[in-house]
């Protein structure tokens, strides 16, 4: 998977036609083929752009910042990225007319070990669901797969699972990198920073991390698109996807809803209901 040339060409054309002010893509770090996001402002810089299976980050995250808000932006989105973009459009965080979207029919990206990343192996929708221009051959929606780690954890005894998560919460340093890297965490002021919650949350303790991460994952329940930006940003390498995938699975199995961001104007499972939702867990 290498769309470097096509993306450079499109970006150059968009700049020359003055259709965009800014292009968000990936550039190589020159080290081990690793890539980082890059914001291109000028025609002559488009040569920096690359796109390969090392283009891991979800670039829609940059659309939530004030810097890009009223600019005309071109950007590259993979299947998962396009779903978060779809949600951002539904939730009025970006304007469609400001965007030029290069969608990728993604073949999966690599993890740090050079293997196909887990979320790509389990990916439900590798093709971009929203785009102005599509690169690659679409392969269509795939069947939902239960996350391998969740399967494994669910079989463990409760106490062991609790210990596993206690370690996770204990290792959280509350840097909020997960929040900053998530395209759907765009609130003006995060609930976790507000007076009502800061008063009692116990700051940087295991219990505080439990509170913060649980609240955070519930705010993303039915919205998380499994791009794993949060996990890539986490300095403690916490397996944050566990919380999100768990919620996603419960929602998928219990409510007949689309996965987050698959459909335009679909707000996610918590913002609607069905009379026939499961009731057996309630006395």
């Amino acid at each position: 998977m290498d769309y470097t040339m096509q993306i450079q060409d499109t970006a150059a054309r968009l700049f020359s036609e003055e259709k965009i002010d800014l292009f968000i893509g990936y550039r190589s770090t020159g080290f081990d083929n690793n890539q980082v996001p890059v914001l291109i402002h000028h025609y002559q810089d488009v040569e920096q752009l690359v796109f390969t299976d090392k283009s891991v980050f979800n670039l829609t995250n940059y659309l939530k910042y004030e810097y890009t808000r009223n600019k005309r932006v071109g950007l590259v989105v993979k299947g998962c990225d396009s779903r978060s973009l779809n949600l951002m459009l539904t939730e009025n965080q970006v304007k469609r007319e400001n965007l030029f979207i290069i969608g990728i029919a993604c073949e999966g990206v690599m993890n740090e070990q050079g293997e196909k990343a887990q979320n790509c192996v389990e990916c439900v929708m590798p093709d971009a669901v929203i785009y102005d221009e599509l690169l690659g051959a679409p392969t269509g929606q795939r069947e939902y797969q239960v996350n391998a780690d969740i399967n494994e954890l669910a079989e463990q005894p409760l106490i062991e699972r609790g210990t596993h998560f206690e370690e996770i919460f204990e290792n959280c340093i509350r840097c909020n990198a997960c929040r900053h890297s998530c395209p759907l965490c765009y609130c003006n002021k995060c609930c976790i920073d507000q007076e009502t919650s800061t008063l009692y949350q116990g700051s940087n303790t295991t219990s505080g991390a439990f509170h913060a991460l649980m609240t955070w994952s519930l705010h993303l329940a039915g919205r998380c698109v499994d791009c794993r930006n949060c996990e890539k940003a986490c300095p403690s390498h916490l397996p944050l996807h566990l919380l999100h995938k768990q919620n996603e699975q419960v929602i998928y199995e219990n409510f007949q809803e689309h996965l987050a961001g698959m459909i335009k104007d679909d707000r996610g499972a918590f913002y609607k209901y069905s009379m026939s939702d499961p009731d057996d867990f309630i006395m």
Partner: protein
């Protein structure tokens, strides 16, 4: 390093035998004003007795219950949480309990996933006429929690 860390950790769910003899369970009850709170009042008016472990908070509707309240209760002192609202179709605010129901299921499963026993957080529909049911619900939750013992939610020692 790895073993050192493990030793420090106190599991969330300790076996019940470790409960100190003077321990009494604390259950946080969050009830909707129109059905369950009225139902709990009826339990009182009918003098139906139930275990004294529950502390009740009144909210207008079960849809007012942010999952955050449940997390907060467990993080504070509660050994268990009971949330109760109107039966489906009876919501005073038309559809509030349907929205709440979805959130409750996801929250319950998530808490269980990170290591809490699923009976720590329970839900019920209690109408304003179901005073007896409310007593039964509290008795059940109380019994479940007593079986499980105190919740050590990342507290190095049980301060209560």
């Amino acid at each position: 390093m790895e073993t050192e860390l493990k030793d420090k950790i106190v599991s969330i769910e300790k076996p019940a035998i470790e409960a100190p003899p003077e321990w009494k369970p604390m259950i946080m009850g969050i009830l909707c004003n129109w059905c369950s709170y009225a139902g709990s009042d009826l339990t009182g008016t009918s003098r139906i007795q139930y275990p004294p472990d529950i502390r009740i908070i009144r909210v207008p509707c079960s849809s007012r219950v942010d999952p955050w309240f449940i997390i907060k209760s467990l993080q504070a002192h509660a050994d268990g949480v009971l949330i109760s609202g109107c039966h489906p179709g009876d919501c005073h605010y038309i559809s509030g309990n349907y929205y709440a129901r979805r959130r409750f299921l996801v929250t319950k499963k998530l808490l269980n996933f990170v290591g809490l026993h699923e009976d720590r957080v329970q839900f019920s529909w209690v109408s304003a006429a179901e005073g007896a049911k409310f007593a039964q619900v509290v008795a059940k939750v109380s019994e479940d929690i007593r079986k499980m013992g105190p919740l050590h939610l990342y507290k190095k020692e049980n301060t209560r």
